[in-house]
């Protein structure tokens, strides 16, 4: 099995702080970080920024058949969220009234454990989102 600790460690800024990229040339934000701007390529000037912590749901689903590591959470909600700067992120929606999980609903970032510990015992943490009442 893959030792997942180094991968998770590398991803701390993204998963803990929602850190991504912003291109000063085309003024577009990207999440997660990119090494090169897909619009401007070498003419782009990427800087690292923290993403806004709020956004809105643009699509969602309720997962009944979970992958490895998510059995204890199923069924759970997943959504694609458009953050306030236009960058998009796929995340779980937690701690929310199912009636309020809808396209257009406002959500904010929360910090949670992501999945059950893997075979290496690595416990992963990061962002999830909840509906803003």
């Amino acid at each position: 099995m893959q030792n997942t600790a180094p991968l998770n460690w590398r991803r701390f800024p993204e998963r803990y702080l929602l850190r991504g990229s912003y291109c000063e040339t085309c003024k577009q934000a990207f999440f997660p970080s990119r090494a090169i701007c897909p619009n401007c390529r070498r003419k782009g000037k990427l800087i690292s920024i923290e993403m806004p912590r709020t956004g809105k749901i643009i699509s969602y689903t309720r997962v009944h058949v979970p992958p490895e590591g998510f059995k204890n959470e199923a069924p759970y909600y997943l959504a694609i969220i458009e953050l306030e700067n236009g960058a998009k992120v796929l995340s779980q929606i937690v701690d929310s009234d199912p009636e309020k999980i809808k396209i257009g609903a406002k959500v904010k970032k929360v910090f949670r454990r992501i999945a059950e510990p893997d075979e290496y015992g690595t416990i992963t943490y990061g962002y999830k989102f909840k509906v803003v009442e």
Binding site: S59, Y60, T61, V63, P66, I80, I103, I114
Partner: protein, 387 residues
Amino acid sequence: MRVVIVGAGITKFAEHWNKSFRELIVEAAVKAIESSGLKGEQIEAIYGGCMASGRLIGQEHIGALIADQLGLNPIPSTRCEAACASGGVALRTAYLAIKSGLHSIVAVGGVEKMTELSTQAVSFALGGAGDQEIELFHGATFPSLYALLARAHMHAYGTTEEQMASVAVKNHANALLNPNAQFHKEITIEDVMNSAYVAEPIKLLDCSPITDGAAALILASEDKAKELGLKGVEILASEQASDTLALSSRESLTELKATRIAAQKAYERAGIRPSDIDFAEVHDCFTIAEILAIEDLGFFKKGEGGLASEKGKTSLKGKIPINPSGGLKAKGHPVGATGVAQAVEAYMQLMGLADKRQVKNARIGLTHNVGGSGATAVVTIYKRFKG
């Protein structure tokens, strides 16, 4: 230089407990060679589509394995991987090899052996088609990614779960007429609607199955086909496009842009319009995927794919028959084989060999093969070859 498919072969799509990966690809390849009337030593190169053999059976180096098992060493043999579009990419790469003028007879294969692991382990292997680090990591599965597309389509256009169900019902009906299909079972809208949710709004009977199988083609240059008096089906165009691996990075959730771009380029190269297509094999890994495909390929206006499916416009006797083979949904979906199997169906239809599922007056056909949730799309257009 025109490129002609001069032979095609396919195994039964099934849970093959008694056949290995290598036996499946050899069976399909031998059928293809026999249908072409050629001899093995006339083949100059092999391109094989296979998505996840490393995860599924612990075997990589599939190109060499295929050449070895077919007794075709030492010709070059190359594996093509683009998730579920591996077969389509293998076909296109073989087409390019002939177009380039370097080769005049090339074999194309596609194969996957998926049923020897638990569903959970297969799901993990297939998850490799998506963005592991930023989407699968957060609990996404393939049904859930397509569920996100389905929900967005329902919201934008009023597409219903019953309309999606009608795709599954139609493809199961077509598969009843295909002896090589995995499922020979008629289903109803109620069956689909009553099946359990996998990821809302996608239910179990909206999903394609886990399948073992292989398919193969023999391609020849026009000159070689004429010289040897070979009949077949001409490839008018084969185009491929790429998009972001992460679904969340897409510009739109109501289309697969890679499909739309590949299709536009393919129609342009072939010099035809969507209305010239007599039938299509499209990538219906989930029922919503067929609805997206028939819109993105230009057969129906954006947003009207669900209604068109419900109204029977895509049935075998409809305005444009979609997935006469039964599609991925009911013929089965051995991922690396699928793109090649679609081309085998196009060949059968255009040669008039499709028996009970024959599309009447089929002159021009199209195949559409997607990798993951649309990060790769291959669109290929075919016409009967008249030497």
